[in-house]
Symmetry: C2
Subunit: 336 residues, 2 copies
């Protein structure tokens, strides 16, 4: 009997697998747990790009000291509604967890509250973090910057990150509405996949180093990804750089090292989380207004953003996570 | 001698012209002043679509009682960092002015503060409002929803507004960085202009009533405008609907009447303004980090968003505003 191409693991076992690899490379137990939990949750939601595929590179970065696996996030309340969080050149998740724990009481008290995280790393599936704030009755807006991939409007060089933006709002009686998107037309990983498959990419995904639209994935990877809506998406990505770099104090996309390899200094990007308490704005009318949105979307035959993710999550919790046998072996080999 | 095609007015005279028309239709002096000031500022910035061209329709809406020209915005502080503003079915500008006056002390004190405006109207050039908060040292994010123009992701009907988003951040020694964009690929006015000129529109601007991409402006106006980045832009527009409708308590895009004609009830859309105090986040490093952004943008031969607007503003303050003689006559005739 040939060995299976995939391995299926229950959620808890997948987390233990990732924790083992990260701890073997020097991550503290709480950091390994927080990081593994976020990666497995992304994998369960069908976001494999933010899932277990990251474990080998996260482990290598910890081993190399590019990421401080023992970092302890330092959280400072700087105002009635503001938090400053130093992620300490560690993984993003422990810092994000600390912010998500501290924000709700501030937001409930002040009406709105925000946390700025710096000296941070890859935020993973940002929608998951927003969803956790929505689970506590808050409307959440989260942005993170990422290493250089897109050009300024009118520019040529890779400077701006693809800069994910996530948003979540609670809906009575069902999972929150969750929006989660990067500001590039497509993820860089899609261009890499096309290159590996020897296939051209559609015009509109990327431009080459001269700024000319290209169908050649190799030329695209030497150029820049196209933002959504051209200059509009570039402007939105710049907004995220201002929030994560200038406001929160992270490094800009054009200053940050890769999230993927183990070379150089920590990327030290930033994240900003904003939480609004509906009770302080529209107040008692809020649940009915969210129900109106659900009704309008379903009446038009459309689907709430994030609902595909919920279906994947339910399947994963029932049947476990399927990952490639090669990835499973690679992660297991880190334990040794 | 034939009459000139355009009339050039000094800024103060243009404001007086608009004030006169709005007051003649029953607007209170402060509401006429706030509204005229915002329209003239947009005109001066080269944003004619949010400028004096709006005076006749604003005046007609006031006369018809669709907009309450005598509305007094009611501002309630609901938390240490939150404001609820009832625009009273009047114009948006008096409510936005009230929020911009009240937000800075809250943001300086709490680190971040937000205002939700409801029962409101067309926010005009949102970047101007964000810029005023940045002039007070704050980072500002402003969203407004607008009447139905785009479809939900996967939907067919015009539901979502084009939902402008504005962002501004202060830069030491020069005007703030200002981002101001709608979430549609193009403004509906561009499709209307193509129809009037008898010209086709490019694929990508709009789809017809069946959801098929079209080059026919008439078919496009019966269909929906395309959001930036397809489903991503639709998701961002939905985020703005949640903020302005569910959080602030405005009407959704699919519930709002037109900003342009005098029929029906007030549109009663919403606006949300968020102001961050950099001192509560990255702190003393903030000005240098903004300077780093300016340096990175100029090093790449690109231009800061909003700089074209500043050049137009300087020209308008030096040479006055040029509007069509027909529009000038139309506004003057409202005075009579």
């Amino acid at each position: 009997m040939s060995s299976p191409a995939t391995v299926t693991l229950p959620i808890a076992e997948a987390e233990a697998l990732a924790i083992g690899a990260l701890e073997a490379c020097g991550a503290s137990a709480p950091n390994a747990r927080a990081t593994a939990h976020a990666l497995v949750a992304a994998e369960a939601d069908g976001q494999a790009g933010h899932g277990l595929s990251r474990v080998p590179s996260y482990a290598a970065q910890t081993l190399a000291g590019k990421v401080d696996g023992k970092a302890v996030p330092k959280l400072t309340q700087t105002g009635a509604a503001s938090l400053r969080v130093n992620a300490g050149r560690g993984f993003a998740y422990p810092a994000i967890d600390a912010a998500i724990e501290a924000l709700p009481p501030l937001a409930h008290n002040a009406g709105v509250a925000a946390a700025g995280i710096y000296a941070s790393h890859h935020a993973g599936q940002a929608g998951l973090h927003a969803e956790r704030l929505a689970d506590q009755g808050l409307i959440a807006l989260i942005v993170s910057n990422t290493p250089a991939a897109m050009a300024f409007a009118g520019g040529r060089r890779a400077t701006l990150g693809t800069n994910p933006l996530a948003f979540a709002a609670p809906i009575a009686g069902r999972a929150p509405l969750v929006i989660d998107l990067a500001l590039s037309q497509v993820a860089r990983s899609k261009v890499v996949a096309a290159q590996k498959a020897g296939k051209p990419i559609p015009i509109g995904w990327a431009v080459d180093a001269d700024g000319t639209p290209t169908t050649d994935p190799a030329a695209a990877l030497k150029g820049t990804l196209e933002p959504i809506g051209g200059p509009k998406g570039a402007a939105l990505a710049l907004m995220v750089e201002v929030l994560c770099g200038a406001l929160a104090g992270g490094r800009y996309g054009w200053e940050a090292s890769s999230f993927l390899d183990a070379t150089g200094d920590s990327p030290q990007v930033g994240q900003v989380l904003v939480a609004f308490d509906p009770a302080s704005f529209a107040g008692a009318g809020f649940p009915a207004r969210m129900a109106d949105i659900v009704a309008a979307i379903t009446a038009d035959g459309a689907r709430l953003p994030g609902d595909r993710r919920l279906a994947a999550r339910a399947r994963a919790h029932e049947h476990g996570l399927s990952i490639s046998a090669a990835l499973h072996q690679e992660i297991l080999s880190i334990h040794a």
